[in-house]
Symmetry: C2
Subunit: 323 residues, 2 copies
């Protein structure tokens, strides 16, 4: 197992994100208790757990044999927890009602970490008895495999909770990125949102299909972004003059009318149908389970590949590998 000091982790909500958390925390060696009112939650979680085991084998990470325990009630999931992970639907009223239930059952010192991809922690913490213990820890799908977790403290969050969170997520093989200022959607999803809008315009205007857009990414800049990100690759393009030279050369294009970003495409039924049909044509012959396995095998392959180079997210793999 990865962790030196197992703790009890309570996970509330076991959809795609929550189930991913359960799998990662349990494999890393924590005692996990999870709660989800959906009767179909167990078989879904089993599939995600199998994906996680397969992926961790591929990364040669030591896995704890302890199984996560399903709790009959939210109170039972969080009663003894030191870390409580909230992954309920993205509705503020649902999240805040969940925090009220958590606070009535959990130790007052337990950290409440929200998986929200958009709400500011200070908004989420509004109404908590102990708002200093709420923090956002926003992961990326598949949670058992992608290293990034955005750690977003709110105005009430204590430094101790922030620091302990960084420690806990690092220990389970992740790369915590502490966000300096609260903003809606944090960092990564703001970038994703920008691309998503532009991609919708491209489909809407008949410029490209979903598959062509995916190809434009995966055969092109996606290969740079998996290792260096945006600014670092542009630094190289700027040559010995650094980023200043790059901006001098390309910055003016910012003001060109190249994008339709000034507006949001309306999600008409017709546009949704177009996207859904193009996506079906692209990969409707594969089940979601098959797509998940392809995706995971590829992420493992990339992480392992980068572990042998001097740069990139592979350092996380190296650090945790069985020696």
């Amino acid at each position: 197992m990865l962790v030196s000091q197992p703790i009890t982790v309570g996970v509330v909500g076991a959809g795609v994100i929550g189930a991913g958390w359960v799998a990662r925390m349990a494999l890393a060696g924590h005692h996990v208790r999870w709660f989800d009112p959906n009767p179909g939650a167990q078989p879904f979680l089993d599939r995600i757990s199998q994906n996680a085991v397969h992926s961790w084998q591929g990364m040669d990470w030591p896995m704890s044999p302890e199984s996560p325990v399903r709790a009959d009630t939210l109170a039972a999931a969080v009663g003894d927890a030191e870390l409580i992970i909230e992954s309920v639907p993205e509705r503020l009223v649902i999240k805040q009602a969940t925090y009220a239930q958590i606070e009535s059952a959990a130790p007052p010192s337990a950290i409440i970490a929200s998986s929200t991809s958009g709400f500011k922690p200070s908004v989420l913490a509004d109404g908590l008895i102990n708002p200093e213990r709420l923090i956002v820890a926003h992961p990326f799908n598949p949670v058992y495999l992608i290293p990034l977790v955005e750690i977003v403290p709110g105005i009430h969050t204590s430094d101790a909770v922030r620091d302990r969170s960084v420690e806990l997520y690092t220990e389970v093989g992740m790369k915590p990125l502490v966000v300096r200022k609260e903003i809606d959607a944090f960092i990564a999803d703001r970038l994703l949102e920008a691309v998503w809008r532009e991609a919708l315009w491209l489909v809407n205007d008949g410029i490209a299909t979903t598959e062509e857009i995916d190809d434009a990414i995966r055969y092109g800049f996606g290969l740079r972004w998996a290792q260096m990100g945006l600014f670092e690759t542009y630094r190289i393009a700027g040559g010995d003059g650094g980023m200043g030279a790059f901006i001098a050369q390309f910055g003016e294009t910012l003001a060109w009318p190249w994008t339709k970003l000034m507006d949001t495409p309306e999600l008409t039924d017709q546009l949704i149908d177009t996207i859904a049909a193009q996506s079906d044509a692209q990969s409707g012959h594969l089940s979601i389970a098959e797509l998940e396995r392809h995706r995971d095998d590829n992420v493992v392959a990339i992480l392992n590949a980068l572990a042998t180079t001097r740069w990139g997210a592979g350092e996380v793999v190296r650090r945790n590998r069985v020696s």
Copy 2:
């Protein structure tokens, strides 16, 4: 070598992009003649060529031993060429003046392929004697390594020129993506532009540094995009309901005021200084040559890793590998 039938390729302009073309076309087995009026072009091209050789060794691709030949004049570079690659600066007047020189020296049947990242081919072809032979073939840095090339025919471009271009670029180990409709900046750069704007806002507003933004990409969604792109990964997130289910779940966030994309940040001297200083802090300890080598080794590692899985740009590597 990769190609079955070597042709003469003339390359006009040997900056970052042009030199990358020279290296790829020569290693693949074509007879390459290149012209650049800059006296420093030779040592720069030598460095790019060395990078390319190192990368192709890593991919186990057969390399032609024939060296590219520097021509003293533009006319000498293109006089016998079947394919002419234009990689001069992104100014319409410069490009069109270059085409006039090319047309006065080259065979009338030679294809003129522009590396422009933004201009529509129909605009570029305005004034050509044989506009049917102009096409955009937009590559991505490093050109000798990244598979994607956007093939954009203009209203004048003949089908024969489009089809021959697809054939030529496929043969040198690339993935040609034919763009259905002419738009400024095509597909990939529209997506990149969207992210670039949002990233500038994040720096401008003090939300994140250049390094933090790069980390948010390379430890997170960059690992998905190197293999599947955007829609395919969202299809998985939508579960068995496909993209329709995904949009039903997340589409509404489009209308949320999450981004500042409605506006373009002003590139003040202060913002440029901030970005340049953050980039220096991030990687000023490495030379551009060192950064190039890291980048290339990582792309090679990723492509090789994906070549052993059932998905991703690695198929290009597999196809061309020495058997």
